[in-house]
Symmetry: C2
Subunit: 231 residues, 2 copies
């Protein structure tokens, strides 16, 4: 455990990246002060703490800022070494978890974003890519973790991959309602679908998920702004 | 040190991502077998080892494949714990190094790619962004590492940031010759420029850098293909 602790999180309620960090802090049982940022009028502190990106989330631990959710999550697990560990100890298992975290973050999340923010042919193309990548993820998770039952989920054994899956896919119903297409299909992606469903049932997750209707409105707004700026 | 060791690297001579891994293996003194991939006709092994991305580099350690350079580099440092350590032990210092590695990889490298592969207004825009991001990097490195002299460089103290800086910027002269613009300017970015120059002087780096003329031809080819496909 880290010694003297002042932990502050600069976040934004609808940000999937902020939710990742909140989930990690809750899972590890780390008390923190949450500072909601208005992204249209960012605080002086946020700009000071993250001058390179000017983005949430920023974790401030004993006055020292750390930016970027993936880096914050590793920092949390390395600083508060109590159970549950978010990453496996074994370097190879750790590399496998990091690989799928990176795949979801760099490719899948970006692709879902393009489905939300485009229309017509472009949306069809992005949509097809999302399905292909969901299949890669579904097959990969099955093959890469053959011995572990990823669906044996409880609040005491959540890890980095659960956090990323949860923060990325839990709001899928809001995105689906906002754009009128089905992203996560239980017949095509039974593993991911069951995984997300099981995670969403956990009290810790329920407590952190943004209100559905409010999220639908935000996704619609983002979509409308993106479509307006591209015409 | 890892016990029984068979280390193979599937790479491509002009790939900056492959070079990162080769640099790490050389720095840590790890013997490895290098397998050059023809990216227009990828080996069955590469496709088997990295089905999600089908890309180099892939490190195969005792038969177990690890993909993605950033993940491979962390795996190497966690598996071969001999000196020099590529990442600092302290979680906060580690987070700072990971932050700038991610900044260079996600933003700057992508932006330099757009300068190489576009023309006219689009190139001007990308070029402006490269300069802004180089300034952020230069200021950030100065501010984030105030106590360490990053330019006190020798083969015994190279770390992750040296590897990324070296693999990203060492080929800048080839890129500059191929596209006819100056990316790294000693008057605008004296720290990065001196850093790259000092790294390029190391025998270990010299031995690994691709031949200048061959690299110029490849950059020209990539640029021509990109311009043709966008018209």
């Amino acid at each position: 455990m880290a010694g003297e602790n002042s932990v502050k999180l600069h976040g934004m309620w609808a940000s999937s990246y902020s939710k990742r960090v909140e989930l990690a802090l809750k899972i590890k049982g780390i008390p923190y002060e949450y500072i909601e940022e208005d992204l249209s009028n960012k605080s002086e502190l946020l700009l000071k703490y993250n001058p390179a990106h000017k983005k949430v989330p920023v974790l401030v631990h004993n006055g020292k800022p750390i930016a970027e959710s993936a880096i914050i999550l590793e920092y949390i697990d390395e600083t508060w070494t109590n159970s549950p560990r978010l990453l496996p100890e074994d370097p190879y298992q750790k590399a496998k978890v990091r690989f799928w975290v990176s795949f979801i973050q760099q490719q899948l999340f970006e692709c879902i974003g393009r489905v939300v923010m485009s229309d017509g042919e472009e949306r069809e193309k992005a949509f097809k890519e999302v399905f292909e990548e969901l299949k890669v993820l579904e097959d990969g998770v099955k093959e890469y973790f053959p011995d572990s039952n990823v669906l044996c989920i409880n609040e005491e054994n959540l890890g980095l991959l659960d956090i990323i899956i949860c923060a990325t896919f839990s709001p899928h119903r809001a995105a689906e309602e906002a754009i009128g297409v089905k992203i996560l299909d239980p017949t095509k992606n039974p593993l991911i679908f069951s995984w997300v469903t099981a995670l969403n049932e956990l009290p810790l997750v329920k407590e952190l998920l943004p209100p559905h209707d409010k999220l639908v409105s935000v996704v619609r707004l983002i979509r409308q702004n993106a479509l307006n700026s591209s015409t």
